[in-house]
Amino acid sequence: MEMTARRTEEKFQFNPHQYRGDFPILGEKVHGKQLIYLDNAATTQKPIQVIDAISDYYRHYNANVHRAIHKLGETATEAFENSRKTIARFISAPSEKQVIFTRGTTEAINLVASGWGRKFIGAGDEIILSEMEHHSNLIPWQLLAKEVGAKLKFIPFKEDGTIDFPVYETLLSSHTKLVTITHMSNVFGTINPVIRIVQMAHDRGIPVLFDAAQSVPHLPVNVEHLNCDFFAFSGHKMLGPTGIGILYAKSQILENMNPYQGGGEMISSVWFEEATWNEIPHKFEAGTPNIAGAIGMAKAVEYLENVGMVNLTLYEQELTTHGLEKMAEIPGMKIYGAAPERGGIISFNLGDIHPHDLSHFLDQQGIAVRAGHHCAQPVMRKLNIAATTRVSFYFYNTKEEIDSFVDQLKKAKEFFAY
């Protein structure tokens, strides 16, 4: 942090080209054009260090973890458990035992709904969500609510894509058993006021879950400082491989939770009729885990630590401001969301060009963006639109790439202005 403090006093400088060479895919051509990858909220590209770490595991020490009394097994177990420590350090978790490997954010949230929700949420209880949730932080709670007879309550979002905080306060009641909300919106880029959300819930003894899929890759995060009870994120949105993610939770909560899936590894002693559970975090990790995924994710974390999360955040803010300014200059541009605290995600529509036509046009120029409802159909319905086009940045993007994208938006306007 001392380094950072000194740096921000000087003129802030960040050179994405220092890192771009580590990403083989950024040299690819698409339809004969240089790839410009602006779909980072969907998934990020992988540096060679991550690709090599996964390859090294399979080439040199592939073995199952926690069982074998042989050298490879020991090496694999050590690498797997060290990955857990690295990720715990990255989010400032008090102990790596609070870091559970899952398939991703979606499974982490389902784990909480199943292992904690089924045990502690019952008929008549209420769960508070926001209207801007990704389907992954909505459907698990719909399923749970239906099963146990609980109710879902929604904090509305306002025109600018921020949550209506006063309404949140009124929704909290003696029936509320959980507040579960996104840390950063995958549609608007809004960074929600997480500290205040937690404080207000904790004043009433209510635990809080953050869907951090979009925030952890882009912001310095300290779960102790946030003081949240559950925290879920994915490896593939932060330079890591797909199929690996994390659930962090407070120790006491994890101890009191029921297991998620049953099988090997999660048990202590097993009889024909019953079994006792392994210690946390293993209690929640049934079966052979995604060993290569964990190793790859930890390598991704090390890469991000090397870039420096504060630098990365500051640079992405510059990119986002640049993108917003340039895009707003185009007549007919409608940008959804204008939160003062936001990350590098911009959803928009351009005139009456359908997002699918626009993204197809951009793809022909080698520019990858996302079009559709972004797994947030209720958000689209509330905005009274079918879909948006979305660009999302990462630290390896450049202002020049954004300028090329904006130029192509102007060309698309001409093309479709029949």
């Binding site: 036509d357 197809h360 079918a386 879909a387």
Partner: protein, 150 residues
């Protein structure tokens, strides 16, 4: 850009901007929902069937240029066609957009529908082009309320 111009032919851009038969029909004998949940394209198709003839056809809703132009052209072409003729055109159109046949050999039957020949180059857009046609096909063949390409 040439590839894209092949896909978005003038006739497609025109039908997207000015869709034909783009309205509700109160006297319709069949009303079907047509949607692609993946991208949010959503249309309602209205058919007036009398003695196995499509007396009138219209649609409303929203979606991309390809899906809207396809629905619009389909409505123009099928008006007055028999159930059998409509079904034959559906099969032909399906084969054209999936690249199973060479449209050049069927220019006469296809007429303006030949504009969709470029779709076969873009697998992701086949669903867009075929959406309204599938709904029509369902309407003529089965007693269902809605059709989705997913």
């Amino acid at each position: 850009m040439e590839d894209l111009r092949d896909l978005y032919q003038e006739v497609i851009l025109d039908h997207n901007k000015n869709p034909r038969n783009f309205h509700k029909m109160d006297r319709a004998t069949k009303v079907l929902d047509s949607q692609n949940p993946l991208c949010g394209d959503h249309y309602t198709l209205f058919l007036l069937l009398e003695d196995d003839v499509i007396k009138d056809i219209s649609f409303e809703g929203s979606g991309c240029a390809i899906s809207k132009a396809s629905a619009s052209l389909m409505s123009s072409i099928l008006k007055g066609k028999s159930r059998k003729e409509a079904e034959e055109l559906f099969q032909l159109f399906h084969q054209v957009v999936t690249g199973e046949i060479d449209p050049v050999e069927h220019l006469e039957e296809l007429g303006k529908l030949a504009a969709f020949a470029g779709v076969s180059e873009f697998p992701a857009r086949v669903k867009c082009a075929i959406l309204a046609w599938h709904t029509m096909h369902e309407a003529l063949n089965e007693e269902t309320d809605s059709f989705s390409t997913e």
